[in-house]
Every structure is written in structure tokens, then in C-alpha cells.
Amino acid sequence: MSYLEELKVKIENMFSPEKCYFPKENLLSFLVSNSEVRGALSYLKDVEGFKHFVMLSCVDWLEEGKFELVYIVWHPEKKVNAMVKTKIDREKAEFQSLHDMWRQICTYEREIWEMFGVNFIGHPRLEPFILEDWKDMPPMRRDFDTLHYVNEHYEWREGREESYKPRDYIGEAFDEWRKK
């Protein structure tokens, strides 16, 4: 039994992961409840030795009305990744800030606050990161229509709309190329 499989068993015993599986060979992914995130991450960091924090990502599941926060960590000795996920409510998007565990989470949380509107409680520096003077809804949310925004705020150069539709054109060109 490999290290990750052992880890999976441990985690299933210790926490109550909803879905614990291997998306690929050296990556363990599991979904835990909101309250267990800090516990799971500190277990991985302090007990198992996943010292290197890779990234924090956020996925918008608009249909379910949830945001999914994804914490990815890396074990420098065992050379494996683990992925801790949790789902938070989309309407009242709030989560605890974990910036005290790894310093660089600060940056990720700041970006997710800006791009998805997730409020991280206890974050020391929730200030605009990438955007400036942004007044619309957080742009990475799936219900934000970027083309609509562009039509409202920018002017198109004439001639662009008359040209062929790239989508159709690529399809045709691809058909021809495939025949050869």
C-alpha cells in the first residue's frame, strides 16, 4: 500500500471526508466540511509533513449555489500532493482566513476576495489586488458576463463585427485539414 493510500485511510478515520479519491496517481483529493478545513490542513502540515503550500483556488458551482475552496499542498519528502476542498455558501460567501498557517495564503485569499467576493474573516489586508476602481460584481463569478461588460464600457472598432465568425471558420478549416 502506497503512502497516499495509507493517508487516505487515516483521513477517512480522522475526519469525515465526503469524497476522498485519487484524481491521479500522486494526488489525493478530499472534500471536508467547513469546520474541518483548518484541522485537516494542520494535520497535513504538522503531522504528515506537507510543508509546502502550493495554491488556494476557488471554483464557482453556480448551479448548486456553492463556492468550492481548494487548498493544494505538497510533501517535499514523499513527493505527493494533497488537495483539501470545502464548499461554502454562495449567497453569504464567508470563510475563515488561514493566513497564519502559511504566509502566502494571504495573497491567494486577497485575490479570491477580489475575484469571487468571498470574505475571509480575520484577513489582515483585504484590499484591491489586481483590479482598480472596480464597481461591478466580482468578475470571476460565473454570472458575470464579460462580453456584456465589454459592450457597455468599450467601443469596438468598425469592421470587426462584419468578419466571419471564428468559431465556424475554425470548424470548416479543421474539417478540410482533417480530410487531407
Binding site: L131, K135, P139, T146, H153, Y154, E155, W156, G159, R160
Partner: protein
């Protein structure tokens, strides 16, 4: 001083301007990656009198290298207004012309000439160093003929430009810089 009837001095000055273009070292977008090859030993743009200038006060040419995010556009306008007349703008890449592949991106502008006057556009993604040099030669031609008067255009149509800029920035407009006085104090 701005003269409507170019005399002999203006003719010689245009010749000098043509052969001495100082480029502001501001890599605004991904086109900045082709600027080092243009300036260094393979393409050696210094042959044409191009030189990097560190600050806008000394520069003649502002190269907009590629797409402009709105946050950069604000800085570009500010930089452009700080430059001294005569000043030129060379825009690289399809994304400055009509948005290019970022046509549906909420954070990049689609038409640069709405916000600042552009003298020469160089199309492509990325434009090769040869294309950049060709663009500069086209600019030199315009300078020699005295047609590269972007600053004058900007001063004369300042309301129109400011209106367009306001559409992007909303209420967060920039303070005015040097465009509103002529020939120093």
C-alpha cells in the same frame, strides 16, 4: 513654440527628430518581450538613432507594447501627458488595434486611439523586431514630413479624449498634466 509655417529651422529640426528618437522604457504589455532583441546586438535599433530613455520627461516615443489593461491605461495616459511635445506613440500588436484575442476581456481596452493619439500601428501577435523597425521607419517618414503631430491633436481634441477616458475610468479620472500649457512657463 508651435509654429504653423515651418521654416528652415523647423525643417532641420524635423530631420534631427527623425534621427534621434528616444524610446520610453515602459513595457506596457507582452510586446515588451520583443523590445530587447530590437535594441540589442541582432537588430540594433541604435543604428537609427533609437535610444532608451528612463523617464517620460526625456522621451520622444512611447511604445505601447500590446494590450492595455485599464489600470495600465491610466498610467500610460499619465506618462503620455508628462512627455514633452513633440511626442509620438507607436502601438504594437493586434490587441491595441481592435482588442485582438482579448476581444471579450473585461479589463483590456479595444481601441487605443480613442484615448491617446497613435501615430503608427504595427499589427501582429507578436510583431517581430523587423516589423517594429519597419514601424519606426514609417514613423520617421511621418516626422520628416511634419505629420506626426499627435500632441497637437491631443491638445485640440482634449474634450473628446477626456470623454472617452471617462467612459473607461468612470469618476476616477486622472489629474491634468502638462497638456494644458504651451512652450513651458
Amino acid at each position: 513654440m508651435c509654429t504653423d509655417n515651418p521654416g528652415v529651422w523647423e525643417y532641420i529640426a524635423n530631420w534631427a527628430r527623425k534621427h534621434s528618437i528616444w524610446v520610453l522604457a515602459y513595457g506596457t504589455g507582452c510586446g515588451a518581450i520583443e523590445m530587447p532583441p530590437t535594441m540589442t546586438s541582432r537588430y540594433d535599433a541604435e543604428r537609427f538613432g533609437l535610444r532608451g530613455a528612463a523617464t517620460p520627461r526625456q522621451a520622444d516615443l512611447l511604445i505601447i507594447s500590446g494590450y492595455l489593461a485599464t489600470k495600465t491605461l491610466k498610467r500610460v495616459i499619465r506618462t503620455y501627458e508628462q512627455m514633452y511635445d513633440p511626442k509620438y506613440v507607436l502601438a504594437l500588436g493586434s490587441c491595441t488595434i481592435n482588442g485582438g484575442m482579448y476581444w471579450d476581456s473585461y479589463n483590456t481596452i479595444k481601441k487605443l486611439d480613442l484615448y491617446i493619439p497613435v501615430d503608427v500601428y504595427v499589427a501582429g501577435c507578436m510583431p517581430r523586431p523587423e516589423a517594429i523597425i519597419e514601424g519606426i521607419i514609417a514613423l520617421q517618414k511621418r516626422i520628416e514630413e511634419g505629420r506626426a503631430e499627435g500632441a497637437k491633436k491631443y491638445r485640440e481634441n482634449i474634450e473628446w479624449y477626456k470623454k472617452n477616458q471617462r467612459e473607461v475610468f468612470g469618476d476616477e479620472m486622472l489629474p491634468d498634466y502638462t497638456w494644458n500649457f504651451e512652450g513651458g512657463i
